[in-house]
């Protein structure tokens, strides 16, 4: 009997944990999207020279380039999917 109760307790706690995580993730979904967009803007500002957008003085790009591998990847990826920006927005906001 005690074993069964323990088993239940363990699973109920787990279920709570999972739902807590889901709720937390839901709560920050929009702000996460905003951060991703800001990250892109920052990437384009600094590394714009790589996709043909006027950039800051070139030495700033050069100085930051070694630290911005992730941003560069995302930016070059974005260029490839640039024809469908609304699709991305709709999927983030959960519109079908």
């Amino acid at each position: 009997m005690v074993r069964i109760l323990r088993w239940f307790k363990k699973h109920i706690i787990e279920a709570f944990k999972i739902s807590d995580e889901v709720m937390r993730a839901k709560a920050v979904e929009t702000i996460e999207h905003e951060v991703a967009e800001l990250d892109n803007i920052f990437g384009i500002l600094v590394l714009g020279a790589f996709i043909g957008i006027p950039s800051p003085p070139i030495h700033i790009t050069m100085e930051l380039l070694p630290l911005m591998d992730k941003e560069l990847d995302i930016m070059l990826d974005k260029v490839l999917t640039a024809h469908d920006p609304l699709g991305h927005l709709f999927s983030t906001l959960g519109i079908d």
């Binding site: 920052f42 700033i60 050069m62 930051l64």
Partner: protein
């Protein structure tokens, strides 16, 4: 309580006095910087060479640095110069900045850092973009900044460092580089801080208070701002003296007028006007009236041109008035 305050104050006093001493020592050790700027062909190289020889002959340890990519100190001294300073007399050394060397060195260093941090395949892809970047406009003045910093750091034991600058356009870009860079960096830092704050909020909610990784880009931006600010302060310091060289003619006068305005935009003040190639009895009233706040140095025309260390020395012996109040 009172005791604690006393100890705190005392300790602070010690720290303060140490700081003051350090500043004082720096002041003693810090070389005076002289920039010779002006329109092409007015005689920046000749007057800067003369000034350096003058300082050296007064017993001051002097370094003359040619920052003009089209060097001509080698013709004036009739010697070969390079990136490594060459001793011309006991107290005078001359070096010519090799901008290509600095650009190449900088690119190599950046490539190495990229290879260290990027994944292999993306570093490989990046190389193609990178090869194009090295032809970007703006690298030339950055190379000059690198060379300037290096010179300033390595030869701080010299009493005077004289910089023979490139013609106006490149020189103005050189002086404005730290100012423009700082404006950019501050805007980028604002955006980056905003991103970092939002990331912090996300991590607080999502992983309940665990601290997020320090943003390396933000830290880099902050350290760059500090570096450029100190460079900017160096340009504005009272040990930095900008000498504007001109001839007594309309063209170089109007260019000098514009240079003064452009430099005033970035708060750099011209210390001294050098009127070069003056003929005997020529009036310089117009220049004196326009540049009332500046000291005036007059250099008369050397009929045969000047070449060789001895000719420079002879010219100085006959033309002491050019160096008054320097």
């Amino acid at each position: 309580m009172l005791e604690a305050w006393k100890i705190g104050f005392g300790r602070n006093a010690i720290v303060n006095s140490q700081q003051a001493l350090r500043i004082k020592m720096n002041e003693v050790k810090k070389p005076k910087l002289y920039f010779f700027i002006g329109k092409g062909g007015v005689g920046k190289s000749t007057t800067s060479a003369l000034t350096s020889v003058y300082f050296a002959s007064q017993g001051h340890k002097t370094l003359l640095v040619s920052m003009d990519p089209a060097h001509n100190q080698c013709d004036i001294f009739e010697q070969h110069f390079s990136e490594k300073p060459k001793r011309v007399s006991d107290t005078l050394m001359v070096k010519e900045v090799d901008t290509d060397f600095w650009i190449e060195k900088y690119l190599k260093e950046t490539t190495r850092q990229i290879k260290d941090t990027y994944k292999y395949e993306s570093a490989f892809n990046l190389q193609n973009y990178f090869n194009v970047l090295q032809f970007s406009p703006g690298l030339e003045e950055y190379a000059l900044i690198l060379a300037f910093e290096d010179t300033f750091r390595k030869y701080s034991d010299r009493e005077h460092i004289v910089f023979d600058m490139a013609p106006t356009a490149l020189t103005l870009r050189f002086f404005s580089l730290p100012f423009i860079t700082e404006i950019w960096l501050e805007e980028l830092l604002k955006l980056r801080s905003q991103i970092y704050q939002k990331k912090e909020i996300i991590s607080k909610i999502k992983i309940a208070g665990r601290e997020i990784e320090q943003d390396r880009v933000k830290a880099k931006l902050e350290s760059m701002i500090v570096a450029y600010e100190s460079l900017r302060q160096e340009f504005l310091s009272d040990t930095t003296r900008v000498n504007l060289v001109m001839n007594n003619d309309k063209l170089s006068f109007s260019e000098a007028y514009r240079i003064r305005q452009k430099l005033a935009d970035i708060s750099i003040v011209i210390d001294r006007i050098i009127i070069n190639k003056l003929k005997a009895g020529e009036s310089t009233d117009k220049i004196e009236n326009e540049f009332k706040e500046q000291k005036i140095g007059r250099f008369r025309l050397a009929a045969q041109g000047l070449s060789g260390y001895d000719e420079l020395k002879n010219y100085i012996a006959d033309n002491q008035e050019g160096f008054q109040g320097i």
